[in-house]
Symmetry: C2
Subunit: 265 residues, 2 copies
């Protein structure tokens, strides 16, 4: 059973994930004791959004007791930070990364319990996030740690999943295609529209419908457009139109080939 | 001013666009007189969805009077069809294609009025379409033809735009990026999830949020993920994970490079 008791939390990081996660933890009844950032002003800004969190600029947490030390920093910053940080012996530390395995936390030294609390969502400071609908992927080095993190996840969201490190990494790659790459293509769509002197909102109903359809039917089964129809004349016409933007022309060509090579088409 | 009077329409084509457009025209008060398809059974299936449309398998429409002959066929089929079809002299014929210019209709011969009624949406037979929110792009060879098609578009949708052939083609390329390519990436995301033994719905909140964000903020300004962070270790890790799927690996590499090369990142 999930342990519903409030937890004392130290949040290590003040980037996009920490920015939204910290207030959500407070709203779920937990106590964010302190916020660390490499840049003191960022820790201060995030602490100012919270009830009574201290703002820290040292990675020595040995005198700051907490139930969970949540490491919500950029993936590339995590290994270095783990070597430098100090936690009270026997603490539970957990990262929020999709790609790092649980075992990366071993770099923080022995005598610690470890876990993962990965929110599968895209976070930008500008846009509020509704955590109730965010899937959380949880892993723990031991039964007790996992139970603490599962309870934490359940206090935030209705979608909590136990996932191993390998599964989580595969999920992360899928998320890069479905989110990061999709966002980039939408950006290109709007840019091409702007270049044609047309308003961006023209594309909104099409984008909404594309996604509604892709969530309701297997996307490969509802693929539309010149590539899946094998309309070589239109493909060549479009490539000509992109001649002065070779990077987009290359993307157009390779994505069209990928659609045409799809055995499910 | 838009002419609100009901029109008699012959629909040439029974594919994805015609399948949804024909009943929508009837619901807007127009009369679909006849439906043509190269495959008689498809014309029959579509006619059966309509009040009293005849099902045609000949392209000689010279004895079938109508206010508008709407050519809703696949882009690659249009030029050949135009050479074969016969319309009553002085008729208005209009295509529904994003990529063909207005002038393609000249292939149908002289003594015809021509126009374009392009619904900017993705159509699959399986999924109903709400035309009220579909942007229609209208063009006409003369004032009167344009007025008829504008009125037809306004009877279907609240979003009607006058667009020239060149603008429409540029819009179409943007739509391929924002819709066709996006759908393909979502399909890859779900496929990778399935390969990992994970349920597809895990990605749904992420996809919804990605699109909500991309419609609320300029997408390039809210790009997230390893590529925009320049996280080479994660990029290489993901490429290794895709080693047995070289087509997806190539897409991953080129899309990541495109994100990293973006001057707005």
């Amino acid at each position: 059973m999930a342990d519903p008791r409030p937890k004392r939390i130290v949040l290590v990081g003040a980037g996009n994930v920490a920015w939204h996660l910290a207030p959500a933890l407070e709203q779920a009844g937990h106590q964010v004791e302190a916020v660390y950032s490499r840049k003191p002003e960022n820790a201060g800004l995030l602490a100012a959004r919270l009830r009574q969190a201290r703002s820290l600029s040292s990675l020595d947490f040995s005198a700051i007791p907490a139930d969970v030390y949540l490491l919500a920093v950029a993936d590339q910053a995590l290994p270095g930070l783990l070597k430098e940080a100090r936690f009270p012996p026997g603490s539970l530390i957990a990262h929020t990364s999709g790609c790092h395995p649980l075992s990366v936390l071993d770099k923080a030294g022995a005598n610690l319990n470890t876990g993962v609390l990965y929110p599968l969502q895209t976070f930008s400071k500008a846009k509020p996030v509704d955590f109730a609908a965010v899937p959380f992927c949880v892993e723990g080095s031991d039964v007790e740690s996992r139970a603490v993190l599962l309870a934490l996840a359940h206090s935030l969201s209705g979608q909590v999943h136990r996932l191993g490190s390998e599964e989580r990494k595969r999920l992360h790659v899928a998320a890069v295609f479905a989110c990061n790459f999709t966002n980039h293509l939408l950006g290109i769509g709007f840019e091409l529209l702007q270049q044609a002197g047309l308003p961006g909102h023209l594309l909104h109903p099409l984008i909404r419908e594309t996604v509604d359809k892709a969530l309701a039917y297997p996307p490969f089964s509802v693929q539309t457009g010149p590539a899946v129809r094998g309309d070589q004349a239109v493909l060549e016409d479009h490539l000509r139109l992109l001649a002065d933007q070779p990077a987009y022309q290359q993307l157009y060509r390779i994505l069209s080939e990928s659609i045409q090579d799809n055995p499910d088409k």
